[in-house]
């Protein structure tokens, strides 16, 4: 093959590779809000928070460092430990229940049922309501003097006791009930979308193989829906870590500190106690938790795949 060397030498020398920074300039300009948000607000805010967690800032942030004092105090505070325990209990249960209930509902909805739209709307509408509203309604329903307990008692079963919001030992389940009411609709939606994405042939294959429906779900379909479960898990998990409004609206952390959660601890110490350093230390611990959950996921989700 003869190469017309003259072309490549002559013109190749002329045409310079344009600056990398100017290519796709518009997309870079368009991404400025995102970059700014990511860097200034989220990254900057996080670093700022971590930095000030090593200070003894009170009402206003001040750079007077005290080492890890705030953390030592944090981990020796009974209330923080209660918050962590509550978060763990609530988190694990709410993950289990919302995934299970969400999946069950989605599986039921996937049975080619009638009134699918109606049912879906019913399951989803609480998601439209704020936690404040959710908290209020459930506080009302669970109120022993007016709510379920009173109603059951008035029907004759006078020893019936169901007042989760006023019993330190089970108050977190009272919050769980409301949280599930509000959130499982979305989980159901995600699961339903996942179920609808399963190859129809898999169902047929399992029927031909004579595998009962529930086994197909457990051994074949659920494992296949792993990506959906992961996405859902991350969404639920982030909500769990952030839980605040609901607790405040339902119990204000009570009775006592029995239904306290980390976000409330952070808020209380930053603003009520006017001890920003302590609040920041607690936030940092929360951020750490979030990072442990999210970073591996984000890596899998966005780091691995590339597209040209």
């Amino acid at each position: 093959m003869t190469l017309p060397i003259s072309i490549s030498a002559a013109q190749g020398a002329q045409v310079k590779r344009p600056s990398r920074y100017l290519r796709n300039l518009n997309s870079k300009i368009a991404s400025i809000p995102m970059v700014l948000t990511a860097v200034v607000v989220f990254l900057g805010g996080t670093i700022w928070t971590i930095l000030y967690s090593f200070t003894n800032s009170r009402l206003l942030p001040r750079l007077s460092f005290v080492g890890i004092d705030q953390y030592e105090r944090l981990w020796s505070t009974a209330r923080w430990m209660v918050s962590i325990q509550n978060l763990a209990t609530y988190g694990i249960l709410s993950l289990i229940f919302s995934l299970t209930i969400g999946f069950l509902l989605a599986a039921l909805m996937d049975q080619k049922i009638r009134f699918e739209n109606t049912f879906r709307t019913i399951f989803l509408y609480p998601f439209a309501l704020s936690f404040i509203v959710t908290g209020l309604v459930w506080q009302w329903i669970l109120n022993p003097e007016f709510g379920v307990q009173a109603v059951v008692r008035s029907m004759g079963w006078t020893s019936f006791a169901f007042d989760p919001l006023y019993d330190s030992d089970i108050v977190i389940y009272g919050i769980l009930i409301a949280a599930l009411w509000q959130g499982t609709g979305l989980v159901m939606c995600l699961m339903l979308a996942g179920l609808r994405g399963i190859d129809e042939d898999i169902w047929k294959a399992s029927r031909v193989d004579g595998i009962p429906m529930w086994r197909t779900y457990i051994f074949i379909v659920i494992p296949m829906m792993r990506p959906v479960f992961v996405t859902t898990l991350v969404i639920i998990a982030s909500g769990i870590v952030r839980i605040y409004d609901l607790v405040v609206a339902q119990t204000s952390g009570g009775p006592g500190i029995a239904s306290d959660v980390p976000a409330k601890y952070v808020y209380d110490y930053m603003f009520f106690a006017q001890n920003l350093g302590q609040g920041f230390a607690a936030s940092t611990m929360m951020l750490l938790t979030v990072a442990i959950i999210v970073v591996p996921w984000a890596y899998l989700e966005f780091g691995g795949r590339k597209r040209g």
């Binding site: 009170r58 009402l59 206003l60 505070t77 009974a78 209330r79 209660v82 109120n143 022993p144 003097e145 007042d163 006023y166 330190s168 119990t251 204000s252 952390g253 009570g254 009775p255 006592g256 500190i257 029995a258 808020y267 209380d268 110490y269 930053m270 603003f271 009520f272 106690a273 006017q274 001890n275 302590q278």
Partner: protein, 391 residues
């Protein structure tokens, strides 16, 4: 002066409180300016962060409520608050404000930054006469009688002691027990000197015993807000409540008569010493000339004798000036005024300990009162720890 809108933020949203604020607004509007009400519901805990955010965020309101004490300390240090020293000197606040400790908490490095507007004392036991009559027990004269009468109330299905779920209620209840049962010295040693040895000692142990009683007596009061608890007393569902003098406003609003429908025992009928906490209005530094002028007008209005009377009557608190005449004051208020006049007063915990320590104590007390399984001994041990590290 030109009419100017001045936004005043506060957390006075219960019935009595709102009525009292109305008096301020009325008086201020009468000066030709306009009171823009910035009420934030849900108690100081909810409201303060919003106020502070707005001040530090560069969108300050015209004036804002804080409690007497150290809540605004750092805002002042940062130079975000307006210095009223000149006005104070001109109007001789130092002479008219009584007790003087109130003005002291407004003072920072010799300058005055706030206007005290009322005195609140915590050490009151409110009793429902109706409840006691119903169970056929004489209305108690002091805490001990009250404790003794509790079983009778309980048997009748009543809650002896109404306590709301908010942590600050139980925390202050405890401090009331300290000063009323333990006395002023004990109170000083614990809250002012932060003496951990005393906090862990036998005297405080006694207080914790009393708190244990209170805890037992409060079983069944499934309410959150303080005024819901008060309402239980008003309606005779509960025997009594330990609450500050602002509870009075609720009784009044409900048309109840002191001494007839309800009784009040300052110092729980044991030690008649009152703390002088209360509210103050702070003025953020504003750029707008007209508004700054209006701030001065408001400051003067707040301290005006007539406003003081009108406000405090509705609020159920005591005026900050000794020279006003509270003819309309009722039975309970008079008791308070008398104690005040005798000088049986001391500083409130808000002024003695930081919000941080306050919060830790609240957490401890909230936990103690909500969990019957927590022994007084265990609680006292933690109490001593908090006091040891208090500031």
């Amino acid at each position: 002066a030109q009419a100017t809108d001045l936004e005043v933020t506060h957390w006075w949203t219960s019935g009595g409180e709102a009525a009292a604020v109305g008096e301020f607004a009325k008086a201020f509007n009468a000066t030709g300016n306009k009171w823009v009400d910035g009420a934030i519901a849900g108690s100081g805990g909810t409201a303060r962060p919003i106020m502070i955010s707005r001040i530090t965020g560069g969108d300050p309101m015209g004036a804002t409520q804080f409690n007497h004490g150290r809540q605004a300390e750092e805002l002042v240090q940062e130079g975000l608050m307006r210095d009223f020293t000149d006005l104070a000197q001109q109007q001789k606040w130092a002479e008219i404000v009584k007790p003087t400790s109130l003005l002291k908490s407004c003072t920072f490095e010799g300058k005055i930054y706030c206007v005290p507007i009322n005195i609140h004392s915590w050490q009151w036991l409110w009793l429902s006469n109706e409840a006691f009559t119903k169970v056929g027990v004489a209305v108690p004269k002091n805490w001990d009688e009250f404790v003794a009468a509790a079983p009778a109330l309980q048997k009748a299905g009543l809650v002896p002691l109404a306590i709301g779920g908010q942590p600050w209620q139980v925390n202050n209840l405890f401090s009331v027990l300290v000063i009323s049962i333990g006395g002023k010295d004990l109170y000083q040693k614990v809250y002012a000197d932060k003496d951990a040895a005393v906090a862990g000692g036998p005297e405080i142990a006694k207080i914790f015993k009393a708190a244990d009683d209170a805890r037992r007596m409060s079983k069944g009061s499934n309410v959150q807000d303080w005024n819901q608890a008060t309402n239980m007393v008003i309606t005779g569902k509960a025997g009594g409540q330990i609450m500050g003098d602002w509870a009075q406003g609720e009784f009044q609003l409900a048309g109840k008569k002191a001494g007839v429908d309800y009784s009040c025992l300052p110092g729980l009928g044991l030690n008649e010493v009152l703390t002088t906490g209360g509210d103050a209005i702070y003025f953020p530094l504003l750029e707008d000339e007209a508004k700054s002028k209006a701030q001065e007008v408001l400051a003067s209005t707040l301290l005006d004798p007539k406003t003081q009377v009108a406000f405090n009557l509705k609020k159920g608190s005591l005026p900050v000036r000794g020279d006003v005449d509270l003819e309309a004051a009722n039975d309970c208020m008079r008791k308070g005024l008398d104690i005040l006049a005798k000088g049986n007063v001391t500083t409130s915990t808000d002024q003695l300990i930081s919000q941080d320590t306050q919060k830790q104590l609240e957490d401890l007390m909230a936990q103690f009162f909500a969990s019957p399984s927590m022994t007084p001994e265990a609680a006292q041990k933690r109490f001593a720890e908090v006091i040891a590290s208090a500031d």
